[in-house]
Symmetry: C2
Subunit: 776 residues, 2 copies
């Protein structure tokens, strides 16, 4: 049903010639807005602070203490199935598994003034409006829809720090604009700590609000300009506010230019009878209203909506222009849309003058770098950041610098775990920022200084962070100390390898020695009797009644032992040995991809559904993303080629429901792009990418250094998914990996594809990728 | 009963030789802490940001929607009658009629940890402690008390931006320190919008809280240093906070250095068994924790408690050292304590690096001035600011500049009405900042620029401010538009005269003409048939059933018509004429001071009690403060001399209950100092001070320009209260006023006092003070 509607929209979006020529024309932001993708359809610029997008619902996390299951659906504020739009808010997470943001909502309206949003299913009760997907257009940096209840055409575009709205009101109707400072995603009662608004003059507002959401303390300052003067305005405060001035003597409710409170909904009336077009520019800042005004002037003042929309398109096209590919229309759409999704988060978190809010809540000036936030590192260290190292090294260098500054400003002296608008969310586990830094250093993207190693070492020794004290003492986190003891032990061991790698690069052999030892700590929780990772207690004993398939209660975070046991990307030969050697390792991999995993093993986990499984392999969540590539270390590397194409075909579709799981701030999309190209960074921090097989017959990678890497696999198809042979710049290439330096040199990778595997390729020790040890 | 206790304390305080020699030794901060004075006993520096003082109770403004009458008692957080101390908080208003502040409370304790304050009357339920006034010592910049429940000696001192605590714990007891981020004065549930704390290391905390109290949005950042390391710490959050991190995996309740929430009470444990002395330095900032740390280092680091306490004493002594007087011990105590009370508010509102939070909530840098807040202008324009023009011109110039900056940052483009920690409180009426500016310009204290006049004109034309649109259109505020229409009309007329005066000084005759006309608007609400001011409706008719004695519902704010009708300080001859001429005017004055005013006329007003009345003249509230001096314009100037001494004797006593009304940020005290000297600025903005009579036989005024004015009245006594004759520098002086320039020249004023009046002095037209007109 949705598929049919969706086709209609595609026609709507692509009103250009049938075969569009530019990367930007292939992108369809609607992909992933139905179901699990948690993407948003609205307008933004690459890595911008502003993501201006329609919200269709904003379920609070819990109501009267009861957890609301479908809050999970609304992480990005929009679900395709919904029939009404509440309004257009300015901040959205792209693909996360937790809701937040949705700051500063605008909604145009006509007729009787309504100051509450109403219910999703009952249009007319509140200011929200019904809409039809037939009127919806979404392209990078542009979104359009008709609000049916008001016959208002809404058009949105953005600059990095400014959301730009154009509302065309029906003729002969008085128009209002609602500015709802209560609205938010994850909007429980009390999320808004305070909000404040000043009507500076009849075309300029400034203000701010502070929220306690998933971002513990989120400061959103704003400056809003109107293209026509406000005639009158007012507000409603839905919460008790103690002091609002001496009411008895003058009216502070209507046309009084200073408004503040906990739950403020404001309205502004315009003479849309005579001037039906209203352009509204909303600049954000985390620093101050002064900063928001500067951002407004620098990025959006003096330009029409149409000019700004055109700029947004051009900016996106330039940012996306790293590839030329051959493929079907669906493949091109999926490819460029995935590429688009790798460039939404992380987000710029800094005013045009360089001021930004640090995790210490002080205002800092970024010297010679751009400050970023939204680091969903448990997800993005795997492929998103390595992908940026490959095609956006300058941005990733700034992200690395942002992490170092975070560490210096952190009271814990820790690199970010989940950096969210000047907050540490502590979301998920590990200290994977060290992986991002190590990878950027290995690939010469980020300068290596002693400061970096110090930040890594400090991060990995915070005694109160999950199990770290025991981990250092015992070599593993005991299950009696943490419910996710086993997975965190595995994650720390890999992270410690990243520190080891950086210490080596820094020439600090003492530190290297310590972290090499820590990098092997994964061994302490393998039970060789079953050949899987298995949590241990403080007394050294393994957990009894252990189920390697069960996701809950077995010591692993969002995954079972069967998946997590493969999480030793830095020492694959080592873990292979623990699992019983090559044969046993391959058998476990084979079984992982081919088993049937009954629902009882994952039914309570939002991140694991039948749609995101290939056998027992969970693609919709991150811990397993590298597993298909692990055959490279075994006697049967060709199996990677088989399973990758299964995963690519099942999990990524040009469809509103096209994503097999949360996009997770670009991680799912970066995995896709790498796997379509034909290689993947299994172990970030090493300089190797492990080969799968090209997904498309031709792909040209325009490297940031100006070199070109062409990847040719003319015969490839679902049937011809196997690599018979490979040539790099005309010479036979038998290794199962390629190095970063070789890629940067550019040239040609020519794959000879066929319908049957070449079972003899990549088997010599020289062909094998890096492993810290050769086994035990 | 209290009197007796008080004497005991006086002995305690003055452990110096019986006859103290220095101004600072005469000050008794306890005066006014019982009853209506609303002063606080704690430690501060002159005009400092920090007022570190014990709080005995903090009644919320209303409980379950019911107004709590005794909230009024706790404007400064302390009432002498109370038996327990909750703790020591860092910000207090001095003498206001509205509660607020009480930010950042510390309380030392031993024994079982308690994280709630408990009830005032039941010590032991919470962390509060009983105390005895016998252990209390209070001098400028120093306070000391023993907390009986814990046997802890608490000593307090301050720098401008840092509160300094020294706690001496009993031997062999484990000591805690409570840092209560919920506590505040006017502390209704929900006042705290957010608070945040970081334990930077074992001797430094930083943090902030944001409150919605009387100051609508008050940002208090802090940095707290300990003289010994914290052993362990933790907190309790009394309110639901949504996101606090991933609790399931590590403990964020104990020894976790990042704490945030709505209702946080924290505790810190110290090894006081081995080190019983704990010095705590608490620096405040309205800008950032970074600013607070700077303030801490600049003002308090590297100095012992004893050194800082000594500095505070010296700073006060230097600041107070403008007078030498002869008088009784009580008179000296009252005089220097009043002088002390003129120098607490306004308060510095700026970090040591010049950054401050503006009323636009942006952070600004003060260029070449010190930024101040706490402008209770309806009170302080009368005598406090003129007093500062006389003895602290540099400070008042900076205060004027702070007001101009406020105007420029205000969305209303208005000068402050009640400036409160970067907020406009809109408290009371008028736009009296124009009076402060005009007075400072007239007296060459503040540079006169076109900017100043523009700010005044802008302020007086804000259409939505109480009745201004009608006032401009009709020449008065109609009662159907405002419940305090008559008093505001009177206040605006005077304020408009101040603008007229400034326009003249600026040479802007066009503006002068407009405001001269507006200055006569008071005439529009006089009913010549009764000889009193009387509110009118929009249709021009006077209010019917009008009672000139009633405080409520008659169109006047906190006063009746009989008092308020005299509020035309700029055109006394004009109002005299409206009242029926000299005879009638004098009769009305006489009756005002001698009538019996039944309680029914003021019973609902907290600012008017029997104690603050002289006849029907209300000294405890401000609108009448100039009235005793109005005889100067009449045929019977000597009556001023009689009534002043009545007022001085009744309203100001060296006693805990020594103030006849709220000190109102120094206004009551400034009135006292002027009236003791012998003259008073009836019409700020003119250069004239109107003579009363000296209260003391000898007073030396050390002027800021280095000149000395000696005031001699050797024969003065309650009996000899009348001025027979006066010589200025040896020459007969018959005028009823003296000019600012004459005072600045220094010299000697010699009063010949007697027990009977000289009814012939000051009667010629040349002897009479300024009046805009000579009547009508």
């Amino acid at each position: 049903m949705f598929r049919k509607q969706f086709l209609a929209i595609v026609i709507g979006v692509f009103s250009l010639p049938v075969i569009a020529q530019r990367p930007v024309d292939y992108v369809n932001p609607i992909i992933g807005t139905d179901g699990m993708g948690h993407t948003f359809p609205g307008a933004c610029t690459p890595f911008g602070l502003v993501q201006l997008s329609p919200d269709t619902d904003t379920i609070p996390h819990n109501i009267n203490g009861t957890y609301q299951k479908n809050v999970y659906e609304y992480c990005a504020g929009y679900q395709y199935k919904d029939k009404t739009i509440v309004g257009f808010s300015h901040t959205h997470l792209s693909g996360t598994g937790h809701s937040d943001l949705g700051d500063i909502l605008l909604m145009p309206a006509t007729g009787d003034l309504k100051l509450n949003p109403g219910h999703a299913d009952f249009s007319g009760e509140g200011y929200r409006s019904r809409f039809s997907h037939a009127t919806e257009k979404a392209t990078p940096g542009y979104y359009e829809v008709v609000l049916d209840d008001y016959s208002i055409k809404a058009q949105l575009t953005a600059t990095p720090r400014v959301g730009v709205h154009k509302y065309t009101f029906p003729k002969e109707e008085d128009g209002h604009l609602i500015l709802d400072l209560v609205h938010g995603i994850y909007n429980y009662d009390g999320k808004v700590l305070w909000s404040s608004l000043r009507v500076e003059n009849d075309t300029l507002l400034t203000g701010y609000r502070i929220t306690n959401g998933w971002a513990r303390t989120n400061y959103t300052y704003f400056a809003i300009s109107f293209s026509q003067p406000v005639l009158s305005y007012g507000y409603k405060d839905k919460a008790k506010t103690l002091y609002k001035g001496f009411w008895r003597r003058f009216n502070q409710e209507q046309n009084f230019p200073e408004i503040a409170g906990r739950n403020i909904v404001t309205y502004f009336n315009f003479d849309t009878k005579h001037n039906p077009e209203l352009v509204v520019k909303v600049a954000l800042s985390a620093v101050s209203t002064e900063g928001a005004v500067k951002n407004l002037h620098a990025e959006a003042s003096g330009r029409s909506f149409e000019q700004l929309a055109k700029i947004a398109t051009e900016v996106w096209n330039n940012e996306l222009d790293h590839f030329e590919i051959e493929g079907t229309s669906d493949q091109k759409t999926m490819f460029y849309t995935s590429l688009y999704h790798t460039m939404i988060n992380p987000s710029i978190y800094m005013d045009v003058d360089g001021l930004y809010r640090g995790v210490d809540n002080n205002i800092h000036r970024a010297e010679n770098f751009t400050n970023y936030t939204i680091f969903s590192l448990w997800d993005t260290y795997r492929a998103e950041h390595p992908f940026l190292n490959l095609i956006k090294p300058e941005r990733n260098a700034d992200m690395a610098e942002s992490m170092i500054k975070h560490q210096q400003q952190s009271v814990h002296k820790m690199l970010p775990v989940w950096s969210h608008m000047g907050n540490e969310n502590w979301c998920m586990s590990g200290y994977h920022a060290v992986s991002v830094l190590a990878d950027a250093i290995t690939k010469n993207v980020y300068k290596n200084t002693g400061e970096t190693l110090n930040a890594m070492v400090s991060t990995s020794n915070v005694p109160y962070y999950e199990g770290v004290t025991d981990y250092i003492k015992l070599g593993y986190i005991p299950l009696d100390k943490s419910g996710t003891a086993a997975s965190s032990t595995l994650e720390y061991a890999y992270d410690d390898w990243a520190i080891y790698k950086t210490a080596l690069a820094t020439g600090n052999t003492d530190v290297a020695e310590i972290y090499k030892k820590r990098a092997l700590n994964y061994r302490n929780i393998y039970d060789s009797s079953i050949g899987f990772a298995r949590p241990r207690y403080s007394d050294g004993s393994f957990k009894k009644d252990f189920d390697v398939l069960q996701t809950y209660g077995e010591g692993f975070i969002e995954g079972n032992s069967w998946n997590f046991s493969f999480h030793v990307p830095h020492d694959v030969f080592g873990v292979m040995s623990l699992m019983g050697g090559d044969k046993s390792f391959v058998e476990k991999l084979d079984k992982l991809f081919s088993m049937h995993l009954p629902e009882k093993y994952y039914e309570h986990n939002e991140d694991i559904t039948e749609e995101c499984l290939v056998g027992g392999y969970v693609h919709g969540n991150e811990p397993s993303h590298h597993i298909p590539y692990l055959y490279a270390w075994t006697s049967q590397p060709w199996k990677t080629q088989y399973w990758l194409r299964e995963i690519l075909n099942k999990m990524y579709k040009n469809d509103i429901k096209g994503l097999g799981g949360n996009d997770d701030c670009g991680q799912m999309s970066a995995w896709y792009i790498f796997s379509v190209i034909g290689f993947y960074p299994v172990c970030p921090g090493s300089d190797q990418y492990i080969f799968g097989a090209p997904y498309l017959p031709y792909l040209k990678l325009k490297l940031p250094n100006g070199n070109i890497l062409e990847i040719k696999a003319p015969a490839v198809s679902d049937k011809n998914r196997y690599v018979q042979s490979l040539k790099l710049n005309g010479r036979d290439y038998s290794k199962t990996y390629i190095t970063h330096d070789d890629i940067l040199k550019g040239g040609t990778l020519e794959f000879k594809m066929s319908s049957y595997p070449n079972k003899h390729r990549g088997l010599t020790p020289d062909d094998k990728p890096y492993s810290l040890t050769n086994g035990i």
